[in-house]
């Protein structure tokens, strides 16, 4: 086992990232976690939930000051109000989720065996609405991000545990997400991994590139650039556009599979959403 891990690490170093013919999510995580621990030897594991603020002192100080007056506070309150307001039929979000929707963020996205699809928290929120005769909310930002952010706060500090069951369809979804993560796209020919694995810690213009490990822990996140709370898939679309690639639809099968792989990678880290980011 050790030997395999080292071999994969060597591949990581060479940037080869050959996708195995079978999916082994657990081994993937071991390789990825080792890679980042080696690259950032001074960063404590749980700190990866804080993105670039885990290792860039200057950025961290500014961020901590901002977090004294969190820019997402109103949105979270609004999200809680929406979450607790019953639908026209008298039911509410609490009726759609296990544990009344509280303290469940750490298990999302989930694989749904019945539909054979990956279900993100935002998709589940909208499915709850339509099942109760309400209109689906637009994805990306606004009310959906507020509700999701409120739900995340009820999981604060819980350890992320995204499960890939040994169902061929679940493994295929995971594998598809992984492929998307490593596939070079757009005119600039860059994969998510180009920036957030191989170049993590490096600097593009004034931006320091965050490691992919820990990316999903603090979403939805308040982005100063957008002046709003955004979902993780809103960020995916932004990063796709940066390399002049056509983004996928929010909550498309592609992005849900990507989020599945991406979130699974952060298993073992604490939930700390919503976060605030540039």
């Amino acid at each position: 086992m050790k030997a395999i891990t080292y071999l994969s690490l060597a591949l990581l170093g060479a940037g080869a990232f050959a996708a195995p013919t079978y999916a082994d999510p657990k081994a993937d995580n071991e390789v990825m976690h080792e890679f980042f621990k080696k690259r950032f030897p001074n960063v404590e594991f749980a700190e990866f939930s804080n993105g670039v603020y885990a290792f860039d002192e200057n950025a961290r100080e500014q961020w901590l000051e901002i977090e004294d007056f969190p820019p997402y506070e109103d949105a979270v309150e609004h999200g809680q109000t929406l979450f607790e307001t019953p639908f026209a039929n008298g039911k509410s979000y609490a009726d759609c989720f296990e544990n009344g929707g509280l303290n469940i963020r750490q298990g999302y996205p989930k694989f749904d065996a019945d539909s054979g699809q990956v279900v993100t928290l935002e998709l589940a929120i909208n499915e709850c609405r339509t099942a109760n005769g309400e209109e689906a909310l637009p994805y990306g930002r606004g009310d959906i991000a507020a509700i999701s952010a409120y739900m995340a706060t009820t999981s604060a500090g819980e350890i992320i545990n995204v499960v890939v069951p040994s169902d061929p369809k679940a493994l295929a979804a995971y594998e598809a997400g992984k492929k998307l993560f490593y596939e070079r796209r757009g005119q600039l020919n860059m994969a998510c991994a180009t920036c957030h694995v191989h170049s993590a810690g490096g600097q593009i213009r004034a931006d320091i590139l965050s490691p992919a490990l820990g990316h999903t822990t603090h979403f939805p996140a308040y982005r100063f650039a957008v002046e709003d709370l955004v979902t993780i898939q809103h960020r995916y679309a932004g990063c796709n556009k940066q390399v002049r690639a056509k983004p996928f639809e929010l909550q498309s099968e592609e992005y849900r599979n990507l989020e599945y792989y991406h979130a699974h990678m952060s298993n073992g880290l604490p939930v700390n959403g919503p976060g605030s980011r540039k």
């Binding site: 060479a14 020919n189 600097q203 593009i204 004034a206």
Partner: protein, 114 residues
């Protein structure tokens, strides 16, 4: 044909000062394309010349003529860096037509002059 001969003759007759001014214009254009965020945007990853707010993913571009005596090798690196290093983060400016052939040549001349 006749026109070409005329042009060549004119070029030969150009005073030295004027032709080097033309060369400087070309370098200035190459610089502009290299710095333009919508074109080369090389500063995103390279320290070069007097460019502001550079990134540091790639090595500083300096002493290029000494390091790339063969201009074609430099052009190949900018046109498609994945040939030399398949895992590179640098975009393939020629292969993906991010720059026209003319723009690419100007960038190469400019970078070669650094």
């Amino acid at each position: 044909m006749k026109k070409l001969i005329q042009l060549t003759t004119m070029a030969l007759l150009l005073p030295v000062g004027l032709s080097s001014a033309l060369a400087n214009d070309r370098l200035a254009e190459g610089k502009e394309i290299s710095f333009d965020r919508k074109k080369g945007n090389c500063l995103a990853c390279h320290v070069m010349d007097d460019g502001q707010l550079p990134g540091y993913l790639g090595p500083p571009l300096m002493m290029m003529e000494a390091r790339y005596p063969d201009r074609e090798k430099l052009k190949a690196q900018i046109a498609d860096p994945t040939i030399r290093n398949p895992a590179t983060s640098m975009p393939p400016y020629g292969k993906h037509r991010m720059l026209t052939e003319d723009e690419l040549d100007k960038v190469v001349d400019y970078v070669h002059s650094l």
